[in-house]
């Protein structure tokens, strides 16, 4: 077999994605040329996807600590204390590249991967959220991708038995060649039963558990670290196929094995598979590991050590057990009819030693594998930015009919109801989902306590393109605001940073700025970042995606009966608008949908004001003073009001009067942060007013609910007066219309 292995040279290293300098570094540190298998290990573990070579220096800026943080970044997922002895565990991951190649399986295995990240921590997954971006829905290819991705998520999540409770789907031509599939998972665990991916205890046995290994996805991590080009086809690894049923068995078996007390550490075999686990687990614990690859359960014949180590077959874990308790582990996995094979042990040497039939095929210090070089590559503000910023949207003609303009916006693919997608997802299994998809945030009760969790994801690539720092901060603000509107106190955040190639200075600048914005917003809003993921190289033939940081925020409600949803509840209630006045059409949905322009300046973001508005909304929801709260997001105030009218079971109209501003488009469709529309029962109005005064935020009454029309007057003129059937028609069927 050895004779058939390619000769290791610097050129070969380059083919595998390593640079000449990196190769030199490997040779110097090893004191010799690596073997073919060892080169494979380095190529995977030093890939951008695994090693964060270009991003690590920036990610250090993110605030990661807080009194409730039990586990920050660095493990499979972050964990936060929610009281009563419970911890919430969550993380978001991207599966962009695989989903473009094979949307159904790519998205499905994306869900599988993030679920494993959660249950390796010992937590039972309770919710999935999916944040998706695609190209123009007018193109058949886009519709094929949307269909494939949504049905892949549906298939895997539903079969496994974890509800999908939220997410986003947005469209922009920049995602045509690189759709984004970001999936977040949330789980619950007793706070004192958190497991970690550490190979502690010299002499402890190492178990391989789960599905058998095939040649799937070899070099998936390397692929995720390269841009697509016309040769992408040839470089395709064998596609990974998901097996949600086996994942369910793996979940139950792992949690049961953990309960025995015989498990010392455990890690999911995700990107770079066994190679990743056998080096990262000992590296975290300061130990080493020896494994016999011949013992790895295999689905195919004649697999080489290289293939066994780098396979990305799904539904597998590496588990370190306590010596002497092997039988307990075996018994549990046998009951669930899964392989559990002892393939090695933890050693003291700090080395990863892999053998095949006794013969050493790789011997590398784990610290070296874990210590990929870090880069601080040149950054440059893009030259084209000023031209985009200089554009004044108010120079464009105003629409002849404001009502029609609103209907057009509501039916746009990005704003229209996403029910087409989420009705394919089981949203309720586990009977925890108090607020289903369709409101600002999903709310899940925590059984056995009085508490509930609110979760939401957000990210707007258009805003980030125009101002990476502020746009990223706005994503944090919006996700947190969505959680606050439901009544939740944001406790922690996970992110997925989706960008083009970091080797291009302007992309790296976008990234660096976005991290800075994220960090700043998290600091002011007091939300620690407990985990995340960077997905670079989202570009095809030089065309990068919109820079898209997606954030997921988890919040806590002390009282599961005190939450709010976004739709109006009853006629004759008062409607108030909280938050600052400043809005802009720069980067807005209106500017894109109506004028196909992505330009202009963003509205200012005052994070202190944001914090106060969110606190005020939370207080109002918790005190039961508001019967609805809805964040003003894409599409501006008019769209927010329309949604509040029609997203509930019974449509309910409203009449709103606004002061005249510079121009009606700005008032109706301008976008800006920190704004929330609330509905207040007249009997609670006085209390509500007192609370708002105390909160020191700007706010005003703007109208009242009732009737079957949405009416908006601006500066004394009625601009919008549309029957709700038309709004429903546009908004409810919009997505399906685009998908047909």
């Amino acid at each position: 077999m050895k004779g058939a292995e390619p000769k290791v040279t610097v050129d070969l290293a380059r083919d595998l994605g390593l640079t000449a300098e990196e190769y030199d570094r490997i040779v110097t540190r090893l004191g010799r040329e690596p073997t073919w298998t060892e080169l494979g290990l380095f190529s995977a573990l030093w890939s951008e996807h695994c090693a964060y070579k270009h991003s690590r220096v920036y990610l250090g800026r993110l605030p990661t600590r807080g009194p409730r943080v039990l586990q920050g970044p660095g493990e499979n997922a972050g964990a936060i204390d929610i009281g009563d002895g419970w911890a919430v565990v969550f993380k978001m991951e991207s599966h962009n590249h695989p989903s473009f190649i094979e949307p159904f399986q790519g998205a499905a295995t994306g869900v599988g991967g993030i679920l494993r990240d959660i249950f390796t921590m010992g937590a039972r997954p309770i919710a999935i959220l999916d944040s998706l971006r695609f190209g123009d829905p007018g193109e058949a290819k886009t519709r094929h991708l949307v269909n494939g991705v949504v049905s892949g998520i549906s298939w895997y999540g539903n079969c496994f038995g974890c509800p999908t409770v939220g997410g986003e789907i947005a469209f922009a031509p920049e995602y045509a060649g690189n759709p984004l599939v970001n999936v977040m998972c949330v789980g619950l665990v007793r706070a004192d039963r958190l497991f970690r991916a550490r190979a502690e205890g010299v002499g402890n046995p190492v178990f391989y558990v789960g599905n058998k290994t095939g040649r799937d996805g070899i070099h998936g991590a390397t692929m995720a670290s390269a841009t697509f080009d016309e040769h992408a086809e040839a470089r395709r690894p064998t596609v990974q196929v998901g097996d949600p049923f086996t994942e369910k068995l793996l979940l139950e078996a792992c949690l049961e094995a953990m309960r025995t007390g015989a498990v010392v550490g455990i890690q999911d075999m995700g990107a770079a598979g066994l190679a990743c686990c056998t080096s990262e687990m000992p590296a975290r614990a300061g130990t080493g590991m020896e494994v016999e690859l011949g013992r790895v359960p295999q689905r195919e014949t004649a697999m080489t050590p290289y293939e066994i180590l780098l396979s990305e077959s799904q539904e597998r874990m590496l588990l370190v057990a306590a010596r002497g308790r092997e039988e307990e582990v075996r018994r549990v996995f046998a009951r669930w009819e899964l392989d559990a094979v002892e393939i090695g042990r933890v050693t003291a040497g700090g080395e990863l030693v892999a053998r095949l039939e006794g013969e050493v095929v790789a011997r590398v210090p784990v610290a070296l594998l874990a210590e990929a070089p870090e880069y601080r590559k040149p950054v440059a503000r893009p030259a084209w930015l000023d031209e985009r910023l200089a554009f004044d949207p108010l120079g464009l003609p105003a629409p002849a009919d404001w009502g029609e303009a609103l209907l057009e916006l509501l039916g746009s693919p990005t704003l229209a109801s996403k029910e087409w997608a989420y009705r394919q997802y089981d949203q309720q299994v586990g009977i925890n989902t108090l607020v289903l998809p369709g409101s600002d945030a999903a709310v899940l009760r925590v059984k056995g306590t009085r508490r509930a969790l609110a979760v939401a994801t957000d990210g707007n690539g258009r805003l980030v393109l125009l101002d990476p720092r502020r746009g990223a901060a706005m994503a944090v603000a919006e996700a947190a605001r969505n959680v606050s509107c439901a009544g939740g106190l944001p406790l922690g955040l996970t992110d997925c940073m989706n960008f083009g190639s970091p080797e291009r200075p302007e992309i790296l600048w976008q990234f660096a700025e976005a991290v800075e914005g994220l960090a700043e917003a998290c600091r002011v809003l007091d939300i620690p970042v407990v985990g995340g993921n960077v997905s670079f190289y989202n570009e095809t033939s030089g065309q990068a995606i919109l820079p898209t940081p997606v954030v997921g925020v988890v919040g806590l409600l002390e009282d599961a009966t005190r939450y709010a949803t976004q739709w109006f509840k009853a006629a004759g209630h008062a409607v108030a608008l909280l938050g600052p006045d400043a809005v802009s059409l720069g980067g807005s949905e209106y500017l894109w949908t109506r004028h196909r322009r992505l330009a202009g300046r963003l509205a200012p973001l005052d994070l202190e004001a944001e914090r106060r508005v969110q606190a005020a909304v939370r207080a109002a929801v918790t005190a039961g003073l508001v019967s609805a709260a809805h964040d003003c997001a894409e599409g501006g105030l008019a769209v927010t009001l329309a949604e509040a009218c029609v997203t509930g079971r019974e449509p309910l109209g409203c009449a709103v009067r606004l002061a005249g501003g510079a121009r009606p488009d700005l008032t109706l469709f301008g976008e800006g942060p920190s704004r929330v529309v609330v509905e207040v029962e007249p009997a609670r109005a006085a209390e509500f007013e007192a609370l708002m005064r105390e909160s020191a935020i700007s706010w005003r009454w703007v109208g009242e609910t009732g009737g079957a029309r949405l009416r908006v007057d601006v500066g004394g003129t009625t601009l919008v007066d549309v029957p709700l059937e038309r709004i429903e028609q546009a908004w409810r069927n919009g997505f399906e219309r685009h998908m047909a």
């Binding site: 190649i101 094979e102 399986q105 599905n211 095939g214 040649r215 799937d216 395709r236 064998t238 596609v239 990974q240 196929v241 998901g242 097996d243 049923f245 086996t246 689905r299 195919e300 077959s313 799904q314």
Partner: protein
């Protein structure tokens, strides 16, 4: 003209369905079972000038829609490919 397309997972791709069916059959006492794979059969009827022309059109359908080239292979069979004694049941 009647043709039939068999769409099967490429070798090496995990056949989740096949593995599950095999496990179930072995559980029901069919221990003599070796490999088992599950695929799709698509039976089409179409107008064409000749069997060759029909086959060419169906091959085009496979390329454009019926088979996912990333995961699947396909074979096309015409009536001629089946021996007269055919299948029972």
């Amino acid at each position: 003209m009647k043709l039939r397309v068999l769409v099967r997972l490429k070798p090496g791709i995990l056949d989740v369905q096949g593995a599950a069916v095999k496990r179930a059959l072995v559980g029901l006492g069919f221990g003599e079972l070796g490999d088992l794979r599950v695929g799709k059969v698509i039976e089409v009827e179409l107008d064409a000038a000749s069997p060759e022309a029909a086959r060419a059109r169906v091959a085009e359908m496979c390329r454009q829609l019926l088979a996912n080239p990333i995961l699947e292979d396909y074979t096309i069979e015409t009536a001629d490919d089946l021996a007269p004694r055919g299948a029972v049941r």
